[in-house]
Every structure is written in C-alpha cells, then in structure tokens.
C-alpha cells in the first residue's frame, strides 16, 4: 500500500523505539523512587516497556489495515482493554522470576490495578494517534484519486466534445463525390481533396491548443466548401474578419460545432436559400465571434439559455476558462444568433 510511503518507515520505527526507551527510563525512575535498587527498577522498566511496546505495535498494525467504521469504537476499546490486561498480567508473571524479594512481589501485586490503567491509557493513546494518522492518510489518498479521476474525465470529455464528427456529413459527402465522378470528375477530385484536408485537420488538432482565428477559419472553409457542393445554391456563407481579430487566438475547433449547428438548423429548419454568417471582432481583451443562421420560430424552440445543440460548446468553454458567461444565444426575427467571447490570455 502507498500509505507507508508517506513518512519514511525507518524514521517512524526510530521514533517508536525512542519513545519506548524514554518510557522504560521513566518507569525505572519511578520504581526506584519507591526505594527499590536500580537493578530491580531497570528490570521492571525494561520488561514492562517491551510488553507495552509489543501491544502498541500490534494495535497500530491492526489499525493500519482495518479502520473501524465511524461510531463503531467499542471493538477498539475492548482490544485496548484486553491488550492492557495481557501486558499487566505478563509483567505480573514474568517479573517475579527476574527480580526476587518479598517486598518487590508485594509492591507488584498491590500496584496491579494502577498498572493496568496506565497500560490501558498508553495503548489507548497510541491507538488514537494511529487511527487519526491512518484516517488522514486515507483521506489524502482519496482526494488524490478523486482529483486524478476528475482530470481524466475532463480530458475525455474535451476529447469527445471536439471529436464528434458527424457520420451524416461524412457519408453524404462521399455520396456527393460518387455522383460527381460520373459527370464532373474534376470536381469529384477536388472534393476528395477538400474532404481529406478537412479530415486531416480534424484529426491532428490538439484540444488544449490555442490557434489563431485565421487558421481556424481556413479549416472551417474546407468544411463550408464541402457543404456548399452538397447543398448547391441553397447554402451561402458570409465571413468577415479583420486583421486584428484574425491574429487573436481561440481553442482549436471551437467554432466548428457552432457553424455545424447553424448550418444544420438553417438547412433543416427552413425551406429555400440559407445564409450563414460568421463575424469576428475584438472587444478589449476578448475575441467576439458571432454566428447567425435563419430558423423557423414556429417549429423549433431554442431552449432557454443555450438553445439547440450548443451545450457542448458551453461546457468546453467552462472547462477551459472556468466561466459560464462566455456564450450567449439570441433568437429573433427568424434569425438565430450565437455569440461567444474568447478571453485573450
């Protein structure tokens, strides 16, 4: 387990041994102060400390692997009591063999109760510290794991949000190429190149990467050109972007789903020609992107807030900038407008 890696084990053992020695010294001193000779006092100090240390080691080890459930401390208490009793009676039976003399045996027997309580308290103390220590380690471990899981989920989500390539788009484009091959082979060939450039661009983009708007627009144009071949004169696009906003950066493939959405709603929600417009401008430290498409308010209700299928874009903006106010949508006069603000870092 990773727990023992947190504080180096040798240091922990050294501290444990030092505490034991100090304890033994103290006990020796106390027994000596009752008038026994140093030999008897130190024997008793050593034997009792070794017994006590073993008990402490045992309970500490137990707690490392079995954390009691919250509120279920009775078991621990019984354990501490039992260990305290074993220590006391161990000393009671061992010491008379090593340190003889009726005065000492008498002293030993008379002090059994107080010895038991001292042992009980000492073992209880160690148990409590162990419990706190291991609980805290567990918690840290959990937190780390949780953070890691969140990071992973975030990465996966970003990946998914961007990678959702429409199978419709791909198959329909191939179908258009199939048609063109028959009577306009040159155009078919051009469309194949556009499609492969577009797909290559999609695949090599990195989620976290910030790209200049001009680059994003170049890639977007490949997509728009393909759609224009598919839908013929029905689809027209207007793109306006000045020099300063062209140099501004945005997360790669952020604009793509917005434009896809605009085209989808423009084409499938209305009949007749569709103009999708994309405008870029700078506003202080923000790159403002505005995408407009016609829609039919009679048949589609943009839900309040984001509307249509734009939640993915908003989620991505949130994951990247930790802000929820970077995208807004408006619907009026048969025109649906999506506006995103990209902070320039």
């Amino acid at each position: 387990m990773a727990i023992t890696n947190h504080i180096s084990t040798p240091r922990l053992y050294a501290a444990f041994a030092a505490c034991g020695l100090v304890w033994a010294g103290l006990q020796t001193y106390v027994v000596h102060s009752f008038g026994f000779i140093w030999y008897i006092a130190s024997t008793e100090g050593l034997v009792c400390s070794i017994l006590l240390a073993s008990a402490c080691w045992l309970i500490n080890n137990n707690l490392r692997y079995y954390q009691p459930e919250k509120g279920n401390y009775l078991n621990i208490l019984i354990w501490i009591g039992a260990l305290g009793a074993i220590c006391t009676f161990g000393a009671r039976w061992i010491l008379p063999f090593l340190a003889t003399g009726p005065a000492y045996t008498n002293f030993l027997l008379n002090s059994l109760t107080i010895r038991f309580f001292i042992n009980f308290l000492a073992i209880g103390w160690v148990a409590m510290i162990s419990m706190l220590y291991y609980t805290q380690l567990d918690q840290k471990e959990n937190e780390k794991r949780k953070a890691e899981a969140e990071q992973l989920a975030r990465d996966a989500e970003l990946y998914n949000l961007r990678q959702q390539l429409q199978p419709h788009f791909l198959f329909n484009s191939l179908n258009s190429i199939n048609a063109l091959i028959g009577f306009k082979p040159d155009e078919a060939r051009r469309m194949i190149h556009q499609l492969s450039d577009f797909l290559r661009g999609t695949l090599k983009k990195d989620d976290q990467q910030q790209v200049p708007l001009t680059e994003e627009l170049t890639h977007l144009n490949l997509y728009l050109d393909i759609e224009k071949v598919r839908f013929g004169h029905r689809l027209q696009t207007e793109i306006s972007c000045d020099k300063s906003s062209g140099e501004a950066v945005l997360p790669s493939m952020l604009l793509q789903p917005i434009v896809e959405n605009a085209i989808k709603f423009g084409l499938y929600d209305t009949i007749g020609d569709v103009v999708v417009s994309i405008r870029a401008e700078m506003d202080g430290n923000y790159l403002i992107l505005m995408v407009q498409n016609p829609y039919d308010p009679q048949t589609s209700r943009p839900r309040k807030g984001t509307g249509f299928g734009l939640r993915g874009v908003q989620r991505r903006l949130y994951l990247l900038f930790a802000r929820n106010d970077l995208m807004e949508t408006h619907a009026n006069d048969n025109i649906f407008t999506t506006i995103i603000k990209v902070p320039q870092l």
Binding site: P167, F171, N172, L174, N175, S176, A179, F183, D269, T299
Partner: protein, 249 residues
C-alpha cells in the same frame, strides 16, 4: 411502365439515383423533389408506384412525409446513416440504400421491387404501416407532430400540445390555435410522447401535465383536470393514479 419520384434535398444525391436508373427504361422518373412538401404534392399529382426517399430533409423528414400520404407507394429509402431508420428498414421497407451505394446494390433493390410488384401488384401497404410504426421511435417523432390540414402541412412542436383525444379512428391533437386530426392511435401517442410530460389519464385522453392548473373530483372515482386554456379533461381512476405518480403527489 412504372412511375417514380426521387425525394432528396441534395441535388447530387438525386443525380446518383437518376444515373443508376438509366439502366431501367421501364421506370420513369416523373419529378425530383427537394423536400417533403414537394414530395407530398408530387405524390398526389402523379400517384407514383415507387419513391426514392431520403430521411433527413428540411422541415419534415421522410417518415413524417410518409405518414401524411394516404396510400403510400412502395418506398426505397436512400439515407446516409440513421440507426432508427436502419432498424425500420430492416424490418419493413422494400429496401433501403445506405449512401454512398454502388450500382450493383442499387440494381438489387430495383430488382427486388420489380419482382415483388409482379407478385403483388398492389403496393405493400401493410409494409409501409409497419415501417412507420417502427420509425416512430426515432427522436424527431418525439419532438413534433406533423399533421395535414386541408392541403397544408402543419408541424406542431410537442410543447404546443395541450392534450390529445381519441376521435373514432383518429386522434385529435389540441393546441392553443385549434385541433388537428392525425391518422394514428392513442397507443401510438402514448408510446411516442415523452412520459415525463404527457400522461394518458383516460382511455381516450392524453394530457400535457404542464397545462394542468387544477384537478377536481368528479362523480365516483373519477376526476376532471382543468387546463390553463379552460378545457376540462376527464381523468379515470387508473389515470388519476398515473397522474399522481408523475406529479409526485
């Protein structure tokens, strides 16, 4: 001689069908249609034997268009990808062609149609009905109801529906603007509409729960739901239990 229509919103997709059809002089294409509305008109005008139908089209999809046709002709679907559609096709369509399809595959579909139309000259009406039943589980059908009023097609977003009532072989769809007849069953709507928003409160009534302002007791074991529009809808004993469950009371 068979009369055919091609209904697809992508010009190039129609060209593929036209090109492949050159090998079949016995099939005459009467018209190419850009969308379901044009398709409906052309079907009425030409009474075709066979239509090539795309699913994803402006305003109303291929299935919704078919729902509005009284005696649907044989259908060969041409579509790029749609898991619901594929399920429906596999069960019931004359055939379905996944774009892009090659000439051999296309010929197979046509041959299948030609041989079946010799065997049973009437278009396979049952097939089309089954097809629509299966297709109705696609997401678009949960969001809107397409009806015909006179010669016009009306698309009703489900948010606009107040309640539905059984009306002989039809179902009346009530909205703030009026009611529309739809050639479907109550069971159909009970299954397609989102149960979070629509509850069948009675053998003959389905109600949009957001429209309810009040529920009054009415006779023995029965209740009346009063809607925002003022309409009163009977609620049966079992309907009341269901309603309480959805409303969480």
């Amino acid at each position: 001689m068979k009369r055919a229509l091609i209904i697809d919103d992508e010009p190039l997709a129609r060209m593929v069908v036209l090109e492949y059809l050159q090998a079949y002089p016995q099939i005459e294409v009467m018209q190419e249609c850009n969308d379901g509305f044009e398709g409906l008109k052309a079907i009425q005008q030409y009474q075709p034997d066979l239509i090539f139908l795309d699913v994803q089209m402006p305003k109303i999809n291929g299935f919704e268009m078919l729902e509005l046709v009284e005696n649907p002709p044989a259908v060969i679907f041409t579509t790029a990808f749609d898991e619901y559609a594929i399920k429906a096709f596999e069960a019931h369509a004359v055939d379905y062609l996944l774009k892009p399809f090659n000439k051999d595959r296309f010929n197979k579909a046509i041959d299948k149609y030609l041989s079946s139309s010799v065997a049973e000259p009437a278009p396979a009406k049952k097939h089309t009905e089954d097809l629509l039943e299966t297709a109705s589980h696609s997401p678009a059908q949960h969001e809107r109801i397409v009806v015909k009023t006179g010669t016009k097609v009306k698309i009703i977003p489900v948010q606009d529906v107040l309640y539905l009532a059984a009306d002989d072989d039809y179902v009346s769809v009530y909205t703030a603007e009026g009611s529309y007849l739809k050639n479907k069953t109550m069971n159909f709507f009970e299954q397609t509409l989102d149960p979070k928003y629509f509850v069948r409160v009675h053998r003959s009534y389905i109600i949009a729960i957001q429209q309810i302002t009040r529920i009054d007791p009415y006779e023995k074991d029965a209740h009346l739901a009063i809607l925002k529009s003022g309409a009163k809808v009977p609620v049966s004993k079992t309907g009341y239990v269901k309603l309480k469950q959805v409303l969480g009371i």
